[in-house]
């Protein structure tokens, strides 16, 4: 593996390897074929190399996920690219009512190996219909897994495991990560190391080895970069040591590996980029409260985007979405 690899190149290489390994795997989506190679270039080169398996579709998100469902029923596997996560609402029926229900509603487990990729999140100035984080709308659906990529997790491993599970899945990919670097194994940056814990697909734990954590931060992959920035500032300026937990699977989520550290630290902040209300973070906070009641020194804090559409203008967008500063502020406020 290259010493430094952009996340987009890592995703592209993982898709390429998966297609090469299984000629019954399809990749479907709008504008994904060459020479364009997808709006974020994640599928660049794939249609040239695998012309039968990589199919450019009309602007028909629901129809395309339906196509994937039909392929899965017939013994194939399929990955669907949403051009933007916002458009996955157009495929909600096929994901929730067809893919997920087909796993169990016929009275016996039936594999539905489909995976819907969703380039998610803001910070790019794309405005209200191209910047949302819609993860919360897919939580708690029986037989539907929700993943989010991070710079710490291997994408090929995620694809293989998710498809092999036979449970349909939605994978959120923060667009800001695409052009950023993968974190090489073991090293988050010059200050923080990281390692994976828990059962597959694992939760990344980034920390300063020598410093017992004062605070545990739990975030999905897109927010993890901003959280690391906040953790650096908290340590350098305030000597507050934080430990970061980044689960690759948001739902169903295994909280067990986080509990000992959360109990020890006493202070826990859950951060996400979705709008407040009915969120992944709120649900997780409730689970932590329930599991650790009596052992936490303060309430679990939840930090979400504002209850607002995502504005286009940069200064307005900043006010709505979670920033590194808002994370460090939340930690500081939580200590007072």
């Amino acid at each position: 593996m290259a010493a430094r690899q952009r996340v987009a190149d890592h995703l592209n290489a993982a898709l390429c390897a998966a297609l090469a390994a299984d000629d019954r795997l399809y990749v479907l989506g709008q504008d994904i074929t060459d020479p364009y190679g997808g709006a974020f270039k994640i599928t660049r080169g794939l249609s040239t190399r695998f012309p039968r398996q990589v199919i450019g579709t009309p602007i028909s998100e629901g129809g395309t996920v339906g196509l994937a469902n039909g392929l899965a029923l017939a013994g194939n596997r399929a990955i669907v690219e949403m051009m933007f996560a916002d458009f996955v609402t157009l495929a909600f029926d096929q994901i929730v009512n067809f893919a997920a229900k087909s796993v169990s509603m016929y009275g016996r487990r039936a594999p539905m190996p489909i995976l819907v990729r969703c380039p998610t999140g803001g910070h790019r100035g794309y405005g209200p219909t191209h910047s949302q984080s819609l993860q919360k709308h897919f939580l708690g659906v029986p037989d539907l897994d929700v993943y989010e990529i991070s710079p710490f997790h291997d994408y090929g491993d995620l694809l293989d495991g998710a498809l092999a599970s036979g449970v349909p899945s939605v994978v959120f990919e923060d667009k800001v990560l695409y052009t950023g670097w993968r974190r090489p194994p073991g090293t988050a940056d010059d200050l923080f190391s990281y390692h994976l814990i828990g059962s597959w697909p694992g939760t990344a734990v980034a920390r300063i080895e020598e410093a017992p954590p004062d605070c545990v931060l739990i975030t999905p992959g897109g927010v993890a970069e901003r959280t690391l920035t906040a953790m650096r500032e908290l340590f350098v300026r305030y000597e507050i040591s934080c430990e970061l937990y980044v689960p690759a699977r948001l739902d169903p989520m295994d909280v067990e590996p986080i509990l000992p550290a959360a109990a020890r630290a006493g202070q826990v902040v859950v951060v996400e980029d979705g709008t407040s209300g009915g969120t992944w973070a709120a649900d997780l906070a409730h689970r932590l409260h329930t599991a650790l009641w009596g052992r936490l020194s303060r309430p679990v804090r939840v930090l979400c985007a504002a209850d607002s559409v995502v504005p286009s203008a940069a200064h307005l967008e900043r006010e709505v979405l979670v920033q590194a500063e808002s994370i460090s502020t939340a930690v500081l406020e939580g200590r007072s």
Binding site: G62, L67, N97, Y106, R108
Partner: protein, 299 residues
Amino acid sequence: MLLIRHFEYALLDLFARGELHGTTHTCLGQEAVPVALRALLSPDDFVFSNHRGHGHYLARFDDPAGLLAEILGRVGAVSGGMGGSQHLRRGRYLSTGVQGESLPVAAGAALHVAHREPGRLACVYIGDGTWGEGAVYEALNMAALWRLPVLVVVEHNGIAQSTPTSAAMAGTIAGRAAAFGVAHHYVGTDDVPTIRQSLDEPVGRVRAGAGPLVVEFATQRIGPHSKGDDSRPPEELDRLRATDWYQRYRGPVFQRLDAEQRSRVAEVVRDVTARPPARPGTSSSLVVVEEEQWQRANA
């Protein structure tokens, strides 16, 4: 057709006696459609059925006990009691309860067939009301673009639950198919041999790679939408029932066949109602064995 007719009568009777949980949609009046298609479809073709699918299932599998067990939630149910009337899966047959949802799925199955099993097709049953769903058009577009072997069977009974087609559809089904360059075939009869003869060649073209085909059957629903919720005026129902195929047949042969199926269904009702409740995982062993064979063949 007589098996389906008596099966549906038995369901309405069970409803009236309060022995049926939830809801169910009978296909009284529409029996000829799946029966005619039975001879035109192979077990290796995919079939996607809908909320009004008892006839589709019985015509394909001749398994009234498995279906009734599913609807009543008893041991031996096709889907272990999880699916009920609208959610059955057996081999390459699948029904689901959301309008239009299965058209893109059928296109996906047809894409598989086009790549790996040329000569087979994906058949999907829909009603006239389903043409209000966008999924229909997304699927038709893709199926036509890629010449996928999709056979769209439209059971046009003139009414969607309580809404007449005239209040829900602008233009025609033929016009909508034409807009996508999709072949359309109209069937105005419920005479099974005539239907089979007229469809033999067009269905063959679908198998040969000519692209999708929409077959529009003029049919009629002489029963309620579900249970007893028919809001049509009695004189209209009388008119429909007067032209129902079941009324047209007379004579000793018909009487004998009719009595045979009536007593067959009565026996199935006796058998299934005496069974214990189904638990998930207690799917009909027949279905499980078939599925294992099918999965091995497709591994």
